[in-house]
Amino acid sequence: MRGSGSALFIYLLRLGDNALMLGHRLSEWCGRAPVLEEDLALANMGLDLLGQARSFLTYAGEVEGKGRDEDALAYLREAGEYRNILLVELPGGDFAFTMVRQLLYGSLIQRLFEALASSRDSTLAGIAAKGANELAYHVRHAAEWTIRLGDGTAESHRRTQLALDELWPYTGEMLETDEVEHALIEQHIAVDPSRLRQAWERALAEVTEEATLQLPRQTWMQSGGRVGRHSEHLGHILSELQYLQRTYPGAKW
């Protein structure tokens, strides 16, 4: 079950591209965070995600078997070939937006990785097990901030609720499955995210309640990133992310 058309290759791209794009969004805070301590925290989390992206994309390259390495996959694909969800490519927004996104993404993907740690694919299981620990910290950090911002001043509450409302319609894509996942779930390689939904929503409700925020009700969900239909924002990310490799092909440090 290898090769570029294989379900495993696409599944790995989805996992890796999520981490790559969210990591890039966090890196945009570097030097711009409200305080030095938070600057370090955001950069740390961004690097964790970049590390996860490297592992997933390296393995994806091996599965594809066409000699593409992590750099070729990260830097030299066209926008339509990226498989990340739309949630992670949305532009940075303010600090509340950044923390709420980290909470929404991290708390589900952490659970996904914990389940993937017992995947029948041992390489995937290893990457996921390491990532789950990292995400556990991201979630705790983001939850602490969400609580403090939500239950903070009137202005911080307003911004945090706004972020939650804006981001919520993008969370549905994390729970989607299609024939790629179906095939892998059957082989006990992938995990069905819909079975993580209840625990995820309960954990979110705990945080939002303490933060005096309203978790949005069911609504129409955005979709498309997982199959390569992206927002215009991905193009802007790529123009920055790929600039060096496109301008100086094969450039090395």
Binding site: P34, V35, E37, L40, N44, Y137, R140, H141, E144, R148
Partner: protein
Amino acid sequence: MTETSWPLWEVFIRTRNGGSHRHVGSLHAVDATMALHHARDAYARRGEGVSIWVVPSAAMTASDPGDRDLLFEPAATKIYRHPTFYEVPDDVGHM
């Protein structure tokens, strides 16, 4: 970037079981929980440590550098406070 009035915290890290916490630096944080988070990011990024303490800097009482002689000088003349008059048998090894 806006001015921050976050309180200052002193960070202590114990690098291994059985050791003692050592002062490694200070940082700003809104409260104790966030101070622990920041300490992890600022001072424990390379796996150093098994335990972190954070203490509000305002809760620390420090001696006045000008009092150095008053505090420490008398000890220098009281040689009987130093255990230098004991003969240590060779078999004891490191003491």
